[in-house]
């Protein structure tokens, strides 16, 4: 008969075998001051400028007069060499951006480019779970959000529990060079300051599909290079800072854990 004491010892000894990573004091203090509510299902990624773990910047944007906003925008631009959208998507646009888990054939039906499935994945990658999501597009000219073409996200789980995603989008002939970085939108802190996390992205083309991978989100740059090579993808040069014209658009993808 196994006693309660044996269960206690078994659980304690098992937990003590889990090796904890180094204490991320900086991240903890950042969260402490941000006081954010954990909402992993509300983490849109701003692409065209958004990708993992490099730089978190708390910036103050709205809740101010236009003149003040202008000044703050200039400060943000100086830090990031890029300024995020001045407005957040409306509730209706945000709702429309919600990703849906789909089969491969359903995903193919939702996009008007030839969907090429990722290959050359890390040996321990399990999946994918496929999601399709309309994008949100912000126009700097009109300061408005609209619904853009859908992207398809392939999400894989790794043996150590991490996940990574590859996103496929339509390579419009008018697309300007993709930006080198992408920003993860982590909401706002207590004072209403947006928190953005900057990530490096890797982009390649297969026919009329553009595939994007974000280093650090469960995948290394070398592993991304192996995928790109296995897919015979044509690497696309990225630029930073992105061209900041009045006609610039910023694309946002809403990321939710696959169901």
């Amino acid at each position: 008969m196994i006693t309660d004491a044996q269960i206690r010892d078994g659980i304690t000894s098992m937990l003590q075998r889990f090796e904890a990573p180094a204490v991320p004091l900086d991240d903890i203090y950042r969260r402490m001051s941000a006081s954010r509510i954990m909402q992993p299902d509300r983490r849109p990624f701003v692409i065209g400028a958004a990708a993992a773990g490099a730089l978190a910047v708390a910036i103050a944007l709205p809740v101010a007069s236009p003149g003040v906003v202008q000044t703050l925008e200039a400060k943000i631009a100086a830090i990031l060499h890029w300024s995020p959208p001045t407005e957040r998507p409306s509730a209706s646009v945000y709702q429309a951006m919600k990703p849906q888990t789909v089969s491969l054939s359903e995903a193919r039906a939702r996009v008007h480019f030839t969907l090429v499935v990722p290959g050359g994945l890390p040996a321990d990658a399990i999946g994918p779970t496929i999601q399709a999501a309309p994008t949100g597009v912000f126009s700097r000219a009109t300061h408005t959000w609209s619904i853009g073409p859908s992207v398809v996200m392939f999400t894989y789980k790794r043996a150590d529990g991490r996940t990574f995603a590859l996103s496929a989008a339509w390579a419009s002939s008018q697309t300007s060079p993709p930006s080198k970085y992408t920003f993860e939108d982590r909401g706002v802190d207590k004072a209403g300051n947006p928190i953005l996390v900057k990530h490096e992205r890797f982009v390649w083309r297969n026919g009329d599909q553009v595939m994007t991978a974000i280093a650090g989100h469960g995948i290394t740059p070398a592993e991304i290079a192996a995928i790109q090579s296995a897919m015979h993808g044509m690497p696309m040069p990225t630029v930073w800072p992105p061209r900041h014209g009045a006609d610039e658009t910023i694309t946002m993808i809403r990321v939710m854990p696959p169901r």
Binding site: I2, D4, Q6, I7, R8, G10, I11, T12, M14, L15, Q16, R17, F18, E19, A20, P21, V23, P24, L25, D27, I28, Y29, R31, M32, S35, M38, P40, D41, D124, I126, G127, P128, T129, Y156, K157, A159, D160, G161, R162, T163, G218, P257, P258, R259
Partner: protein, 171 residues
């Protein structure tokens, strides 16, 4: 509890491994566990000044960690692909090969949390109910179900260890 930055650093360094381990015990996912543990430590850092009784710190910490982990875990929905990973027995951590680990992983989220708070943090069912917002009767019932599964797993593990010892002895 009045605490300065240096003391807070030391406290976080000390509490981090436990926070991470408990979160991992509940979530069975390194990335999510780190996220939950970070969030819990940030809450601890923010609210430590309001904690009146220093001796209640450990139980208080565990409650925060468990609540952060449950909150994250509820938003995660396992997929068929993840189930397939389990079937293939893909593991990287020696601890993950234990029957007890698998038995814990197979428990529903509430039971996992109750088990860790009871057996690791030493909380009784009333305290667990208070910490997690479950009815006390439900905690006792969840613990009973969890015990059944864990006893079976632990018995298998102990048998396997004793066979291994015998085999070593024979050689």
């Amino acid at each position: 509890m009045k605490i300065d930055r240096e003391e807070l650093d030391r406290l976080l360094i000390q509490t981090w491994p436990d926070a991470y381990r408990i979160a991992f015990g509940i979530l069975h996912d390194r990335g999510l566990a780190e996220d939950a543990a970070q969030e819990a430590c940030a809450l601890v850092a923010r609210k430590i000044a309001a904690l009146k009784d220093a001796s209640a710190f450990r139980a208080w910490l565990y409650r925060i960690v468990v609540n952060c982990a449950i909150s994250l875990g509820r938003r995660r929905h396992p997929t068929d692909a993840l189930d397939a990973a389990g079937e293939r027995g893909i593991t990287t951590d020696p601890a993950e090969r234990l029957d007890l680990y698998n038995a814990l992983a197979a428990l529903p989220l509430r039971q996992r949390a109750a088990v860790l708070l009871h057996y690791y943090a030493g909380l009784n069912s009333a305290e667990i109910a208070d910490a997690c917002g479950f009815p006390p009767g439900s905690v006792r019932f969840q613990l009973m179900l969890a015990r059944r599964a864990l006893r079976k797993a632990l018995a298998t593990e102990i048998r396997a260890e004793s066979y291994a010892k015998e085999a070593t002895h024979d050689h």
